[in-house]
């Protein structure tokens, strides 16, 4: 029998630099915030779904399920570690959701942690590149900014937009997300770059042409945690359960094998459609979106593939203000990956954190009336895609 599923408490560490903590210690901080706002007992939690991307490389740490469980005082229960690059904790979330929905567990903990800032840029860049084709993409020295730089040029050609014009348009993503990130006390760039200008983005250091430093999200340490349970369990314990209405997931291989599909982010279209179908919703039903803006161009193609704008119109949309907090579909009003930070394995459940806070009216630095939100997390060059739809309404 299928059950409705709801989110109870949510937690997130400050994003940025945490060289003084291990991955389990960092995760514990996010977990305690989520647990303390869930009104449950520790013994209510039946399993842990934990996302982490490159603990082996940054901290020499694998087999993290057990260490996480032990750190937070939950020794003995099943504890899984999920890896889907930047979508690691979103993959964990979807599996946790399916387990609760289909009666395997009644209440579980989901989350993630990553320490890429502390690893330093050269190791961090190499660690991130492990999400690309190890034999046929990384050998040329391709990096993640490189992947989206390649996609930016493909986008410009496909829609016949001069490259310099496209750079200006997508720079607005950075300006917007830094504006909100500067207002978010948990963001890596809290109180920083809040009045960034398009020219600042264009003139900052070139990383992979045509993308500059401000087109890119930063390297980040951080953790996030959410507790989910059956809707009946949740409504007995907290006043405002946020309901999980649908979740989608899709996959693809190497960037070069996807050819022109990359411009349209087809795996994301498939994943989003799976989530919309389950929720019996269309993009028009969504009030706010938390999408995977690892790079400025990435947010633009995400908003197209998720159905908010026609293909080729996403760059105009951000320039015209349609994705700002007061626009027709606010995108990343928490700062997104660019303004808030991107602790890879923690990013998916951090998006859920912001979405839940906003739907409860607790994201007090930005004013948006919203009843339904969607999250979007991308792992690799479209290798792993997850979308989750959350609502204040049970049905």
């Amino acid at each position: 029998m299928e059950r409705d599923v709801a989110v109870l408490g949510v937690g997130q560490t400050k994003f940025g630099s945490h060289p003084d903590k291990t991955l389990p210690e960092l995760f514990a901080e996010a977990f305690f915030e989520a647990f303390d706002s869930s009104n449950i007992e520790l013994r209510d939690i039946e399993a842990i779904y934990f996302g982490n991307f490159v603990g082996e490389i940054t901290d020499g740490a694998a087999n993290l399920g057990g260490f996480i469980a032990d750190e937070i005082g939950l020794r003995g229960i099943p504890a899984y570690r999920f890896e889907g690059a930047c979508a690691s904790s979103s993959v964990a979330f979807r599996d946790a959701y399916l387990a609760v929905k289909h009666g395997i567990y009644d209440c579980v903990l989901v989350g993630g942690a990553e320490k890429l800032y502390s690893a330093g840029t050269p190791i961090g860049t190499r660690a991130l590149a492990t999400a690309l084709d190890s034999a046929y993409e990384v050998n040329s020295g391709l990096t993640f900014p490189g992947v989206f730089a390649l996609i930016a040029r493909l986008y410009a050609k496909t829609y016949d937009i001069p490259l310099e014009k496209l750079r200006e348009k997508i720079a607005h993503v950075s300006v917007k997300n830094h504006k909100y990130g500067a207002m978010n006390p948990k963001a890596q760039f809290y109180n920083k770059f809040g009045d960034l200008k398009v020219e600042d983005v264009l003139n900052s250091r070139m990383i992979c042409s045509p993308l500059t430093l401000f087109d890119c999200c930063p390297m980040t340490d951080g953790a996030s945690a959410v507790i989910i349970a059956t809707a009946d369990f949740a409504k007995d314990r907290i006043d405002e359960p946020i309901y999980v209405r649908g979740a989608g997931q899709a996959s693809a291989g190497s960037l070069f094998r996807q050819k022109w599909d990359v411009v349209k982010a087809l795996p994301r279209k498939r994943s989003a459609e799976m989530a919309y179908r389950e929720a019996r919703m269309t993009p028009k039903d969504i009030d706010v979106a938390f999408v995977h803006d690892c790079f400025t161009i990435a947010e633009v193609i995400a908003t197209e593939a998720m159905g908010f704008f026609e293909y080729g119109k996403g760059a105009d949309a951000v320039e015209e203000g349609l994705t700002w907090a007061d626009g027709e579909i606010p995108v990343n009003p928490d700062g997104g990956l660019i303004g808030k930070g991107h602790p890879v394995g923690a990013t998916g459940t951090a998006q859920i954190y912001s979405a839940v806070k906003l739907l409860r009216g607790e994201l007090d630095f930005v004013k948006i009336d919203a009843e339904t939100a969607i999250t979007d997390t991308l792992g690799g060059d479209f290798g792993t895609l997850v979308n989750v739809i959350l609502s204040v309404h049970r049905r």
Partner: protein, 133 residues
């Protein structure tokens, strides 16, 4: 498998897998056809010619590649239809100044020192793209 591809490339041959069911060329070869998923494949030699579909001049490299910056990574569409990733044989400055998309290229292999995470522990071969008229 992947080592055969790079050995052939160092020997001056670009190889692909031709699908006997749908004619698609998969390059570099993989275990199944990139279009229909068939296992009914044969290794064939390709022309080694194609055109640039996208590229990026890379200024910040991963650990193990830092000594090589700046370099230009490109995607080339081979005349047989497959897309492959390699490096454009032009300097970063020229790549940023000119629009190289659509330019004709020829593929050849070049050996670089391997690094700790690369799957081939003996060498790292990069498909290089030389601009031709």
């Amino acid at each position: 498998m992947f080592k055969d591809f790079f050995s052939a490339l160092m020997g001056g041959k670009l190889i692909g897998a031709k699908c006997k069911d749908c004619e698609e060329i998969t390059c570099p070869p993989k275990s199944t056809c990139n279009r229909c998923g068939s296992r009914n494949l044969e290794i064939v030699e390709l022309s080694g010619k194609g055109k640039v579909v996208s590229y990026t001049a890379t200024y910040v490299a991963p650990l193990g590649y830092d000594g090589e910056v700046p370099y230009v990574v490109a995607i080339v569409e081979l005349d047989e239809g497959a897309w492959i990733v390699g490096r454009l044989d032009v300097d970063a400055e020229k790549a940023d100044k000119d629009d190289l998309i659509g330019k004709r290229v020829e593929v050849y292999g070049k050996e670089f020192p391997t690094e700790q995470f690369y799957p081939d522990k003996q060498r790292r071969v990069v498909p290089m793209f030389r601009l031709v008229e």
